[in-house]
Symmetry: C2
Subunit: 211 residues, 2 copies
């Protein structure tokens, strides 16, 4: 049984991946933990500790090969697999997600949208069809759906999430302004709270002014 990796480490992984991707684009071949720590504003020690949770990706006296490390972190994050995504609630946030190419590039293509509003059911957004909520069960049964993104009012979030879990969906990317807590250990939920983020910014503003 492997040691459980702490949440703090996992939160940093996508950031490592992002910085290594930039280095790769700039044709940087190798980098030491010390150089990377300067760019990312953390300690070299932390970088080495973080990476060694997953294995030794570096080489003494050389540092880390950027392409190799980028790929390995990608694998740790599951970016070597495709994850089909559906979005429930075809509003502006859904449009933003569908239209942002990077999610597809990273391996998270949106394969369908769902909404209750008959005025938009049947239309397409960025080439992706908006289905009726009535067709959700059929669609999920007939297609491989890995992730469901919830971009709908919090009033319906729990009900829809429960329905999705009953259909066998194992992961939910939740944008509803509520903490989804499903009592199913097989289902993973990532809550995105934009208003929390805005309030944190507001806190910083207030505390800066107090100084």
């Amino acid at each position: 049984m492997e040691e459980k990796i702490s949440k703090a480490v996992i939160r940093r992984l996508p950031r490592y991946y992002r910085y290594l991707g930039d280095l790769l684009n700039n044709n940087v071949e190798r980098i030491s933990s010390n150089e990377l720590s300067a760019k990312m504003k953390l300690t070299a020690s932390q970088i080495r500790q973080d990476l060694n949770n997953f294995g030794g990706f570096g080489q003494q006296g050389y540092g880390y090969n950027v392409k190799y490390l980028h790929d390995e972190i990608g694998k740790i994050l599951g970016l070597d697999h495709k994850h089909n995504m559906i979005i429930i609630g075809a509003g502006n946030l859904a449009s933003a997600i569908v239209r942002y190419d990077k999610f597809e590039t990273l391996g998270f293509p949106t394969i369908a949208l769902f909404d209750n509003n008959i005025n938009i059911v049947g239309k397409t957004i960025n080439g992706i069809k908006v289905h009726s909520m009535d067709d959700l069960d059929k669609f999920v049964n007939e297609n491989k759906v890995d992730i469901a993104a919830l971009t709908l009012p919090k009033e319906h979030a729990i009900e829809v999430a429960t329905r999705l879990v009953n259909l066998g969906i194992k992961s939910i990317w939740n944008f509803s302004h509520i903490d989804l807590e499903l009592n199913d250990p097989d289902v993973v939920v990532e809550n995105v709270h934009l208003s929390d983020s805005l309030m944190q910014l507001s806190y910083e503003i207030v505390s800066k002014n107090k100084q």
Copy 2:
């Protein structure tokens, strides 16, 4: 000089605010740290420690008055002041923000949108006008702008952010997929990385499957 409050505590504040708001809506008058801890899935001790960073809001033998505590946390988060917001980049994400009433309710009204695309300049989204980027300086000089949200491609984020800071804007809510790091200690930045969030979800999926 007050002690610096840790980032971990600040991250929990909006969540306290949210739960207390729900309790308030359900006409709950008072709550003990123990009851709240059960709802929020953290320890009573942590709640008391967190709150006592800012003062004693409770009463021995009674607990906490929900309305009072909600208001006090709101004040700590700066929700007793209005923060005018502008959004740079009038795409779908901007539309989602403008249309989501809650931000305005919390005291963060969007007062203008800005974009380079002449096809949308002059239009309105949810009653808010889309201005040309050429009018940015004039607008900021003539209006009180507290927060600028950046919902534009990362290629332009640094340039626009620098321009905003030069115009005197003190806080940036950044949705561009880049870590904005402005070397101005007076400016606060909150980075929102949706792709990081998605990758964290992906990590959880992968590690669940490994078990």
